[in-house]
């Protein structure tokens, strides 16, 4: 009946936090303790950054080109530092491809935006009886709950918001922020901490009454979310959102050449969001999703890719990979690039590509996974997977779970007690974990 309690994070834990906050002094102690250990500890913490290409990116023009097919389109492949070729419009990424791999044998069957979004985030196809958690929520539940010094949410979604924590509960919901680094309504609005604590004590009295009124668990989960919100308001870790503290060269590298900055149809935004993701991961956040939209290219696909999407994508991926490597974090941070599906190999009458889930590519790297590889392949026209094995999102997330150290036999329980296997029972991709 009741929600499964996160391991190591009981309601008592939350209340403990609240009490600590109320007394103020222990909280200060706590913060200085965190600071002392932060630099070293945090960097070794595992994390995942999901680059979510909202709308469905044409992987045939990016990761798996078909120059000899009528489906190939305008772009040519180029060599990379890894053992695979990618699009000529991804030159900077080509220079870091020894760290990144491409799974070219995705075959995912959901070619509708809503269903694809759900399937790729959760590894489960939508059903009316249960809402499955996005993998970010799973990581929040598994890893975030164990990071006692993490005061900000363990699953942060920058510029997006298409996923749900499902049966894991709202405390594992993605915390939605925009790419500016301004977190709305997160300061005390002029009142002191003592006033806040007074308010929270009164709130506790009113809320407990409703929680004990035999009306189900919504009252308690409301309270749990407020505890998290209060933690966040009091936290110094909120500084992780302030990307403007970064040097200009870093900002420029992430968002492409300065001359193009801000001119790339939101591309500069993508780079800035990735930079924020790196800062959040450094602060101990185990899962960050960065949304980059504008891929629903039913028309004029090549022009849009060439001038808007790919320059920004290229700069962002290359800068993030390089930055993480320089900071010694790349072995602990998994990078995943995907959308709800990809786009038809066939080019339509509007020089666009439509929805396609049958044969496409997902990029994955870092976190100790093998880089520079192409896993699986598609046929010469890109219309089906030609290698012996094709992959589902569950296999991708199982690979990520492996890299993050989450046991693959982990089983969660849905609210009605049904066992739900991690990543829908997917298996880690052998070639990548070696």
């Amino acid at each position: 009946m009741s929600l499964v309690t996160p391991s190591g994070m009981s309601r008592r834990h939350f209340m403990g936090h609240l009490a600590a906050g109320a007394a103020t002094l222990p909280a200060l102690d706590f913060i200085s303790h965190v600071k002392a250990n932060a630099a070293d500890l945090k960097r070794r913490q595992k994390a995942c950054i999901l680059m979510w290409m909202s709308g469905g990116p044409p992987s045939i023009d990016i990761w798996d080109l078909k120059p000899d097919s009528k489906n190939g389109g305008e772009f040519k492949p180029i060599n990379t530092k890894g053992d695979l070729q990618i699009s000529e419009h991804m030159p900077k990424t080509a220079q870091v491809m020894d760290n990144l791999s491409v799974i070219r044998a995705m075959s995912t069957r959901e070619a509708d935006h809503g269903r694809g979004r759900y399937y790729m985030h959760t590894s489960y196809v939508p059903t009316p009886t249960v809402v499955h958690p996005a993998f970010g929520s799973v990581v929040s539940y598994e890893l975030g709950s164990k990071r006692k010094d993490l005061e900000i949410p363990a699953f942060i979604s920058i510029g997006g918001g298409g996923s749900s924590p499902g049966f894991l509960g709202m405390t594992h919901s993605p915390f939605l922020v925009n790419g500016t680094g301004q977190i709305e309504n997160s300061d005390l609005g002029g009142i002191g901490l003592d006033r806040l604590d007074q308010r929270l004590r009164m709130l506790g009295t009113v809320e407990d009454n409703f929680i004990h009124s035999q009306r189900g668990e919504s009252g308690q989960s409301h309270k749990d979310v407020y505890v998290k919100a209060v933690n966040l308001m009091k936290s110094k870790q909120m500084d992780a959102f302030k990307i403007n503290e970064e040097k200009k060269e870093v900002l420029d590298a992430y968002s492409g050449a300065p001359a193009q900055g801000g001119m790339m149809g939101g591309g500069g935004q993508f780079g800035r969001s990735l930079l924020m993701a790196r800062r959040l991961v450094e602060a101990g956040v185990p899962f960050v999703e960065v949304d980059f939209g504008g891929w629903d290219l039913h028309a004029n696909v090549f022009q849009t890719l060439k001038t808007q999407r790919l320059p920004a994508l290229d700069a962002g991926i290359a800068a993030l990979t390089t930055d993480l490597k320089q900071r010694g974090m790349l072995n602990d941070v998994v990078l995943v690039w995907m959308g709800e599906f990809a786009r038809t190999p066939r080019i339509n009458q509007d020089v666009g590509r439509d929805h396609w889930a049958n044969s496409w590519s997902v990029m994955i790297g870092g976190g100790g996974l093998k880089g520079g590889m192409a896993v699986g392949e598609t046929d010469k026209d890109g219309i089906s997977v030609s290698s012996s094995k094709s992959y589902q999102p569950g296999d991708v997330w199982a690979t990520v779970a492996h890299a993050l150290g989450i046991p693959l036999d982990t089983v969660h329980k849905s609210k009605n007690g049904r066992p739900m296997k991690l990543a829908n029972g997917g298996t880690a991709i052998q070639e990548l974990i070696g």
């Binding site: 009946m1 939605l176 979310v225 009605n416």
Partner: protein, 716 residues
Amino acid sequence: MSNVQQPPTELQILLDGLCEEQLTPDQLSRLEQLVLTSADARWQYLQYMDLHGTLYWDAAGAGSPEPLSSHEMPAYVAPADITPAGRPASKKLSRQRMPLVIGAMTACLAIMLFTVWQRPTPVNPQVVTVPDTPSKNMAGVASTEWVRSTIPRKHGPPISIDEPVVEPGAENFDEPLLVQQSETTDEPKPEISRAEPAASSPVRSETVIARIGEELQSRWKALGLQPSARADDSEWLRRVYLDIIGRVPTVDEAQAFLADKREQKRETLVDELLNNTGYARNFTTKWANLLIGRSSNPQVNREAFEKFLRVSFTGNRPWNQIVADLISAEGNNAENGATNFLIAHLNNDATPATAVCSKLFLGRQVHCNQCHNNPYDKTKQLAFWELNSFFQQTTSVYRQRRDPNTGRLLSGFTELVTQDAGGPTYFETQTGLMQVAYPRYNGNDVDASPETNRRVELARLMTTGEQPQLAAAFINRMWEHFFGIGFTRSVDDMGPHDPASHPELLASLSEQFMRSGYDMKQLIRWICLSEPYQLSSRFSDSNQNDDPSLGELPAFSRMYVKSMTAEQTYDSFLTATKAHQVGAIDWTHAERNRQQWLRQFVVAFHTDENDEKMAFDGSIGNALSLMNGPLISKALDTSAGSFLGEIVRQKSPDTEKIRLLCLATLSRTPSPSEFSSMKKMLREASVPRDGRLRVNEAYQDLFWALLNSNEFASVH
């Protein structure tokens, strides 16, 4: 009100008189006569009432210091002077003078609605080709348009239905005869008479309400469930206010209801709420969000669309007619608000329009069929494109007018246009074959030549006569609105893959709904007075497992707790705190503020399906907004004239102040233990510090806690 410039017509003079309560009984009956005999007059009457209604909400409505008494119709504001700038200046009628006006309005409205219900809904199963272009059509049909009585001709082409011309006066006599005949003959009753609305073969509300109770009881018995106890007045009151008018009751409204000793007070309140302007406003919000989404679209005129809905709901137009309008609307989107529905979904070869029509009106998801046959329920790709081809003549054009004097461009509008186009729609199967689809709905082929207005045909095929699927989809969605879950888990996608919890009840309610003439208010009465709606949300020992969130089919043996929507939260904040009265603003401004506040939660995905998400889901971001955002800081204002300020300054004991704050937020009196703990906290918080008494702050903090509480955020 487009004709402000012209000298006022007799009707306008009478309407003004009505609102200023200057009417003599003779004038009143003249007004009745005008309204009842002319469709245009009815439209103007509704427009007029709508204007007053919207002004009323802001100026005198939620949070009014005077009770919206539970014994009277809600008051409208009068008079409204339209100044040359177009800015309505309103003043509130004194309370003593209201009843007369209210009475007159109620009479008019009642007679009008009665007349509208009288109208048979025609059934015509054959394919009818409309011979003319819509514009030519209009002139010919308008005078006989009874079904569409509340729509002016300028609002697009009427659906061309072969409909008997009936003299208004004759109707009352015709229909009982018809029914008697069908009851006394052995012949199967023709479908048409069953679809006939009200009066003649009245749907007896008590029967329907009793049936709901019986159906559910038999299930409870079968499952061995004891239903929860009857909800007490506070619990029920707050629930019904939020469900019907989208906000919590004011302190005065709550006190009036709680003090009311009459046995029929729940029935009375439901009727009052249905006549409250908040009813139309609430369902306008709900349906606008469903029909055109929340993301802004420069082509869509949200204000005009909401006005179309508001006027329709205020006049209680039958649901099938509203749907018909949405599907067949034509013209300028500022003048004919209904056009905005399709304007919002014509992109990508109108595939969103196809999917949304099916989802919202029929409760069937078909967008997957755009690309392939559905493996689960046998629906075919071809069917999607057959439905889609009804929209293939339709396009939207952006137009700008020029000021004839200055030559300056005036603000533009979008026009929904039907082109003279015919022939099939082409689509590609998964194997890459090109196929054709012709307009075909539910087994009915429609002539595919350019002369046919396909949308008019679709509206006719989908909405006239008995439409069990249209009715069931609507019932299911309304049931979900009131109980938190429909008979099926997804109200958007009913079908064999998602069996209904109470199929017989759903079928029976659909049947009664059709018989009532798709009467929305009647349906809400049935639901709100039914046994399950009277139950408490507290579970008993026996029904703890009746919890749809566990994936079980609902048994409705208790009221499931719903979370307030973003709109309910906003409107309830304003009601509980009268924040909208701090620095009074006009309605347009108020609505703009509301939309602006709501926008922070909208996530648009910018895909070809126009999908979006409302991130008001109880997440940390929502909590932050309510703890620290502008809404709460306004609510905590204690300056003169503010709600909290007035309470704090009242010369009454603490217990009374606590009681009022709890009533304003939770619609109930605190329990003795809550009283004592709140008093204790207030005392502690008010202890002078730094030589300063902090009573105001203590009350602010208590009010903050109440407004941020789980109980406030719940509809239970």
